[in-house]
């Protein structure tokens, strides 16, 4: 490293926010200063999405459905009612949640071709790939090639159903329960349920596989 390196100048340079970050801060400041919204509300909403919902919440719902027939029936009948009964709340009016059960005959996979609708009130924000043009364009016309890219092979005699989230319904896939999990606890089962399995691009993990 050069002895005359100006660390102060370098430090200032690395602290300059990206233009996009400045735009966000400008909008935020204007809205908070004018009293349209409160900073505490923004913080609360970010905390909720970062920490209180997410794939772990969805995995708990799926695992409960695997071991509790009565709960699975409720989940399939009214997703919002079922997940709210487990404390995943705040759905309000307007958004519906539909659970799609994978079976030996049917494999379900979810997309939003027109924007990026996703059951974030259960699973947190969608992964970047879910919002990509590559996924949104191709999964409807060639779902099996998309599944193959995720390492998922669906047998020819199994029907692939692609669910395009184009209205105010959000879908969560209940993957098939892996074999060899008899006697597992809800917590152990939840550990096998990945986010990608609940979108439908992967199967649930096998009990002896490591992530």
């Amino acid at each position: 490293m050069a002895q005359d390196h100006d660390e102060g100048a370098d430090h200032v340079h690395s602290d300059v926010p990206e233009p996009i970050a400045l735009r966000v801060r400008a909008l935020q400041s204007l809205l908070v200063d004018k009293g349209v919204i409160e900073q505490a509300t923004i913080d609360e909403l970010v905390d909720r999405i970062e920490h209180r919902v997410g794939p772990h919440a969805g995995a708990a719902v799926v695992a409960r459905g695997w071991i509790d027939d009565e709960f699975r029936v409720r989940l399939l009948r009214d997703g919002v009612e079922a997940v709210e009964s487990l404390g995943v709340g705040d759905w309000g009016r307007g958004t519906r949640l539909v659970a799609l059960e994978n079976t030996a005959e049917v494999h379900n996979v979810v997309v939003c071709t027109l924007c990026s609708c996703y059951p974030w009130k259960l699973l947190g924000p969608p992964p970047v790939w879910y919002k990509s043009a590559a996924y949104r364009s191709r999964v409807v016309i060639d779902p099996r090639s998309v599944l193959a890219e995720f390492g998922t092979t669906v047998a020819d005699n199994v029907e692939v159903r692609v669910w395009d989230s184009n209205s105010e319904v959000r879908y969560v896939v209940i993957p098939e329960r892996p074999e060899g999990t008899e006697g597992f606890s809800v917590e152990q089962l939840a550990g096998l349920v990945t986010r990608n399995a609940m979108i439908g691009v992967e199967m649930a993990r096998l009990p002896d596989s490591s992530l």
């Binding site: 990206e18 909008l27 349209v36 071709t113 027109l114 992964p127 970047v128 364009s137 692939v160 209205s167």
Partner: protein, 195 residues
């Protein structure tokens, strides 16, 4: 609008670049968190409908839409909406402008098992009937809900209408031999009966 956002069935976007699930962060930058919080805090104020927000995203230049990240598109829409609603004007009060209703006195036109066709229509404004189903034949799986029609919701006008889950065979949509199927929810006026 037959915009670039209506991606279903388009080709040439290449492989899906998926980050490993175990290591993908919830947000990729601090500013993305703020955009998330702003979007939700503002939507709780009911200053506009979700379809109006979507419409603002769709009204960007196509090249911008495709180049932007997801949260950049959100920010672009929020900036338009905030100005459009006059929220930054000293004299404009913050007023609720979107009051959704989820009921209709009209009887549902379709029932489970009815054969329908997605209307071949090309509205220049916002719609939630994607191009790839228009003109195609499907079957009503069930009546799902009564919800505000997106075309008018995009103008903050609430016009509740029946919504149906419709199944389209992959063979009907894409001419393929696959036994696969597409499921969408479509508003009543997006559909016409098959004789």
């Amino acid at each position: 609008m037959n915009g670039v956002h209506d991606l279903g069935g388009m080709q040439g976007f290449g492989p899906i670049q998926a980050e490993p699930e175990a290591t993908e962060p919830v947000f990729h930058a601090e500013w993305e968190k703020t955009v998330w919080g702003l979007m939700l805090a503002l939507s709780h104020k009911r200053l506009w409908s979700l379809d109006r927000f979507r419409r603002m995203i769709e009204m960007q230049r196509p090249v911008d839409y495709l180049q932007h990240s997801y949260y950049e598109n959100w920010l672009a829409a929020l900036e338009r909406l905030v100005v459009d609603a006059g929220l930054l004007d000293e004299s404009t009060p913050v007023a609720e402008a979107w009051t959704p209703v989820y009921a209709s006195s009209a009887q549902p036109r379709y029932e489970t098992g009815d054969r329908v066709r997605a209307v071949n229509r090309h509205p220049v404004a916002h719609t939630r009937s994607p191009r790839y189903v228009r003109g195609r034949r499907g079957v009503i799986i069930r009546h799902c809900a009564v919800e505000p029609l997106p075309e008018l919701a995009a103008e903050n006008i609430c016009a509740p209408q029946h919504v149906y889950c419709v199944r389209f065979e992959a063979a009907e949509l894409w001419g393929t031999a696959a036994r696969d199927a597409l499921y969408l929810e479509l508003f009543e006026e997006y559909l016409e009966p098959m004789s």
